[in-house]
Amino acid sequence: MTEAPEPLLKVCDLRVWFPIRKGVLNRIAGQVRAVDGVSFTILPGETLGLVGESGCGKTTLGRALMGLEKPAGGRIIFNGQDLGALTGQARRQLRRHSQMIFQDPFSSLNPRMTVQELVTEGLVHHRLLQGRTRTESARELLASVGMDGDCLFRYPHEFSGGQRQRISLARALSLQPHFLVCDEPVSALDVSVQAQVINLLLDLRERHGLAYLFISHDLSVVRLMSHRVAVMYLGKIVECGATSDVMETACHPYTRALLSAVPRPGKHQDKRIILTGDLPSPAAPPPGCPFHPRCPQALPVCAQQAPPVRTLDNGHSWACHITPD
């Protein structure tokens, strides 16, 4: 077996909790465990798809990786350096290498700035213009995302959703990052435009060797984009592995339920696993396995003990009490 390459991003037992404050004294009455003990790694140039239903903590996890949320515990190691241990200038320098694409292309661009100002803001701040003018750099960046340069002095509202998403990509790429968090980058777009943006993301991955954390609830998009997939439920990763392994031989009942909901053209539709009930409140997660109240195969032990994490040789891991067939 060859030596595993050094991971670009290593997340160990990351927890992001939001305190619930009550009363006059702002007493902490509880914690919303948005992200509760998540660990994974991303190699350079690799795409990890992160799937899960709304409110499971996908976006919070992405933001925590960007340093936009303060973790309650755990470590984020980027390029071999612990983000939590760095402060000030060093932290900002490191942060520059990871950027984020947001879901809503209508709120992720400042409506009062021109395209040129938007895409070169980071360059100007980090003094990365290197003797070129803002216009030249902006033109280059826009060309790299397939937009022509005559829109430099227009405002975001003059563009369509797909074009805006290209502009935010250009902005993110301006700092030459190694890692991009894509928080549902295509779910607000039309299907035809989705394809264009996905192709652009794939193309950029080829050209710049970017690593992505691709957050989505659309399993077919994740299948197309990702090398590996992590399935998240109530702040925890319940299953993680290579895309083909997870998609073909899902081991966690939640993953199976998710996959059974994806329509597949030309194939006989398997029996759908219908989950009942809603996602439990992350402020009061159920004891034992967080999925047991909705799990169709739940055993008595599931309500009492946290499930063990099983890992196969190919790296496919899942957390469940039930022994797979």
């Binding site: 933001r63 960007m66 340093g67 936009l68 900002r92 320098q93 942060r95 520059r96 990871s98 950027q99 984020m100 947001f102 879901q103 809503d104 709120s107 992720s108 661009l109 400042n110 409506p111 009062r112 700035m113 021109t114 803001e121 980071g122 701040h125 980090h126 002095f153 405002y155 509202h157 935010s168 902005r171 993110a172 700092l175």
Partner: protein
């Protein structure tokens, strides 16, 4: 003699010149920015805004003319001879007057004896006079200067139009100075409280709550008693009393903007907080500031009238629309009523406040690229 220097025309002329230079510099700086140039072109296309702007410029010009002045040699009222000091022979100067006073001199010199209606040829109230037949008769005596008073004359025969013109400066200074004093406070504290949260937010909110719990009228009355009546004092008092509302508004808007994706994106790029506030938050709350400023400008011009009416206004030696309305109070109870002083003050006030509102609306629309 610092006290006399601050009261001298020298100081006032220098101050006016300084403010004008500052405004011109600001306009020049802004005209070099794409964003403001676009906004300017947008405003130019709105005819109503252009007309409003021209009217506002007219008001501004009158206020500026009324702010610069000089002293002239004292002359003998009949011979026109220049008065000289009996021992040193130096020319004696008069108290001085503003440029507007000199311009209005031909009108204000036309003193009548008492009330006369706008553009009337005779006195408003009849006087008893002997007729040719020797019978006493109630007649409307002809005016000294018939049909020359656009807004009539007041009780002591002064031209009301001149008074209304002289009040423009007071109104504009109250409106502008109060806004200039209040907006920076509100902007700095509002955005800082909203963006940083935590103890900065708590402290700002506490100060705002304390300040706004004091009744405005009471606060201004106390302020005027301590520091004396006058224009700058009133503007300062009104500024202190009124920045909290805008501050809270800006805080709320900043809290909303702090969570938007474009601010998060800027944070992710490592842009420091002060730059995020300056580049992302302030431009997006600018429309709020503009609307509030315009509404505030109007309401402060009107509030000045109310405070003068209550006797805590600019003081008796400064002409203002409030003072005119205060005078009109007693005149309106007469029979037949004297309505033109109120009408003049009202016309001039509406003439300032309405274009200010219309222009403010146009500027707000022009600054929002989404509306173009």
């Amino acid at each position: 003699m610092p006290a006399t220097f601050f009261q001298s025309w020298w100081f006032q002329n220098l101050l006016t010149l300084g403010l004008l230079t500052g405004a011109a510099l600001l306009a020049w700086r802004l005209s070099r920015r794409e964003y403001w140039r676009n906004a300017f072109h947008e405003i130019c296309r709105n005819r109503l805004a252009v007309i409003s702007f021209i009217i506002l410029c007219g008001y501004g010009a009158i206020a500026i003319l009324d702010s610069v002045g000089w002293r002239r040699p004292l002359r003998h009222p009949e011979t026109g001879e220049v008065a000289r000091h009996p021992e040193t022979g130096k020319v004696i100067l008069d108290q001085g007057a503003s440029a507007l006073d000199y311009l209005l001199a031909p009108i204000s010199a036309k003193r009548e004896k008492t009330y006369s209606a706008p553009l009337a040829a005779t006195d408003y109230t009849p006087t008893t006079a002997m007729s040719s037949t020797g019978q006493p008769q109630r007649v409307h005596a002809p005016l000294t200067y018939p049909r020359s008073h656009l807004f009539g004359t007041d009780r002591i025969g002064q031209d009301v139009f001149c008074q209304a013109c002289k009040s423009i400066r007071t109104g504009i200074i109250i409106g502008l100075l109060t806004t200039i004093l209040a907006v920076p406070f509100a902007l700095v504290f509002g955005t800082a409280a909203g963006y940083y949260g935590g103890w900065i937010d708590d402290a700002t909110q506490y100060v705002c709550a304390v300040l706004s719990s004091i009744p405005t009228v009471l606060f201004i009355a106390a302020f005027m008693i301590i520091f004396g009546q006058g224009l700058p004092q009133l503007a300062l008092a009104m500024g202190i009393a009124s920045w909290t509302g805008l501050c809270r508004l800006l805080r709320g808007e900043t809290i909303r903007l702090r969570e938007t994706d474009f601010v998060l994106a800027a944070k992710a790029m490592g842009v420091p907080s002060w730059r995020i506030i300056l580049r992302h938050i302030v431009p997006n709350v600018l429309h709020l500031i503009l609307i509030t400023t315009v509404i505030r400008f109007s309401s402060e011009v009107l509030a000045e009238a109310a405070f003068t009416y209550l006797g805590i206004g600019v003081g008796a030696d400064t002409m203002s629309w409030g003072a005119m309305i205060n005078d009109a109070r007693t005149e309106l109870t007469r029979e037949p009523i004297i309505w033109w002083k109120l009408a003049a003050a009202f016309t001039f006030m509406v003439g300032l406040v309405l274009p200010a509102n219309l222009f403010g609306d146009a500027v707000r629309d022009a600054l929002d690229p989404r509306l173009r």
